[in-house]
Amino acid sequence: MDRSLLIHVAVLLGLTALAVSTTQAAEPAPARQKELVHMVRQDCGSCHGMRLAGGLGPALLPERLADWPDDSLVATIIHGRPGTAMPGWQRFMNEAEAGWIVARLKQGFPELD
């Protein structure tokens, strides 16, 4: 096989793999979704309330979040908010997963099983 063709194939395969992984990251696998729902309701819930109606932290209900841009909400989850009690959660999720959480929060967050 021609060497340049080989490189083309390799690059194509790489791009395909990248595309697949990006789509997967945007929509976590079902088991991971379950973990994220549990984490949000139970662990984020210790400040925001299990029903996300607020506590020491603000409510995370759709009407409350509607005016916030997704990327700033994702940044808040990943990096926290200095000067407040909100820590960054980057040890426990990536940005795509935080994005999935933000989208679900804005729709009305899934219940625990």
Partner: protein, 393 residues
């Protein structure tokens, strides 16, 4: 007919006899009773710690994701404060809800007055406290946490103290307030600057000192309630030594169980340490390195041990500190997501709730052997009626 009054009289006698005869098994004291919160299901279990069993389940208590319980002095009624502002009076003997009201939009807990006649709730939304008649749950008065015109604070750390007073801290305002309910319809409040972002508070078992843990700075705010005019002072200031804080994934909880062996044992914020201060001079005497961010730092009633649980992600662990050696002597995992612990009144056993293992474990505090495991649906708080006899609970 002459027979009729006789029959009526007989019926009355039988009826009265029926009322007066309580089945012997139903006659019991309440000193060994308690409740376990099933947070997601909005239920409580009524439990007893003489033989470590669950007696009944009482449903219909709303959102219990941050529930707190205080008890009537006769140990019969549990007042359950729900996150959704629900205040439910549960009869531990009939095992039913006696009364239930929604008193706020977002609540965090409450406490009972020295004379047992007032229940005071502390609320996030609307920020402030409210006093209720303990018998009827009628609203008697409220103190909005309006610390500046139009600005309301969340209330944390509410504790009852002698003189029909309640002490609490204001998260946004950075103040400690003392409200006197001697006249329950006309409360009188005094304010004391405390420090940045107090997250919870405790009163010492004698009711003298109120300590507010600070989130926004390294230190604890201390108010001497025997001499409140002297104002709040700061202890353990700068314990973080200017180092970068570790993230805090759950706020610690303070209560009057922090004193043991003449020392106060307190969770550090953003450090995996328990801070130890002399309970007379309030000077730091030690720090005990632990496995994670401490949430509850709870002394066994005799003070020889201090038990610690942790914030996410270390919340499957529990550590036991020996208060003489000031070091961890036992580390174990009773289950996943250990949310709360409660000692039996004399301390020979401790109950631990494991939310994600759906069980409550009863552990011997000398041998650390598990004595019982009770199934429970995502349990959180465990509260025994012995709290009803203590200042600050």
């Amino acid at each position: 007919m002459r027979l009729r009054p006789a029959i009526a009289a007989l019926g009355l006698t039988l009826g009265l006899a029926g009322c007066a005869t309580t089945p012997p098994e139903a006659l019991r004291g309440t000193g060994d009773l308690g409740v376990v919160i099933e947070r997601a299901a909005g239920r409580v279990q009524i439990v007893e710690h003489s033989t470590n069993t669950s007696l009944a389940t009482v449903p219909g208590l709303g959102d219990l994701s941050h529930a707190h319980v205080t008890f009537s002095r006769d140990g019969r009624f549990a007042f359950v404060f729900g996150r959704d502002g629900g205040l439910t009076k549960v009869d531990l003997l009939t095992r039913r809800i006696d009364k239930r009201i929604i008193q706020a939009g977002n609540s965090i807990g409450g406490s009972i007055s020295q004379d047992g006649r007032l229940i005071v709730a502390q609320n996030y939304e609307p920020g402030g406290i409210k006093a209720f008649d303990a018998d009827t749950l009628e609203l008697l008065s409220e103190v909005p946490a309006e610390y500046a015109p139009g600005k309301f604070s969340k209330v944390v750390g509410l504790a009852d103290v002698p003189g029909q007073r309640f002490v609490y801290a204001l998260f946004e305002a950075g103040e400690i307030w003392v409200t006197d309910f001697t006249n329950p319809r006309r409360p009188v409040t005094t304010r004391h600057p405390a420090g940045r972002q107090p997250y919870d508070g405790l009163v010492t078992p004698d009711g003298r000192y109120f300590l507010a843990g600070l989130f926004g700075e390294d230190g604890i705010s201390l108010l001497d309630l025997w001499q409140p005019e002297r104002g709040a002072t700061k202890i353990l200031a700068g314990y973080g030594r200017g180092e970068q804080k570790l993230p805090v994934f759950k706020m610690p909880h303070l209560r009057g169980w922090s004193l043991a062996a003449g020392q106060a044992w307190l969770p550090a914020i953003g450090r995996h340490e328990v801070l130890v201060a002399d309970a007379r001079s309030w000077q730091e005497t030690a720090r005990v390195p632990v496995k994670g961010q401490p949430v509850f730092v709870m002394a066994r009633p005799d003070g020889r041990q201090v038990w610690v649980n942790f914030a996410f992600p270390d919340n499957e662990w529990v550590q036991v500190i020996d208060t003489v050696e000031k070091r961890v002597v036992h580390t174990f995992s009773p289950g996943k997501a250990v949310l709360h612990m409660e000692f039996e009144p004399r301390g020979e056993e401790i109950w631990l709730s494991s939310r994600d293992s759906n069980r409550v474990s009863v552990v011997n505090t000398t041998t650390f052997a598990t004595r019982a495991e009770l199934p429970a649906d995502a349990p959180s708080g465990i509260f025994f009626t012995a709290r009803g006899q203590r200042i600050g609970f």
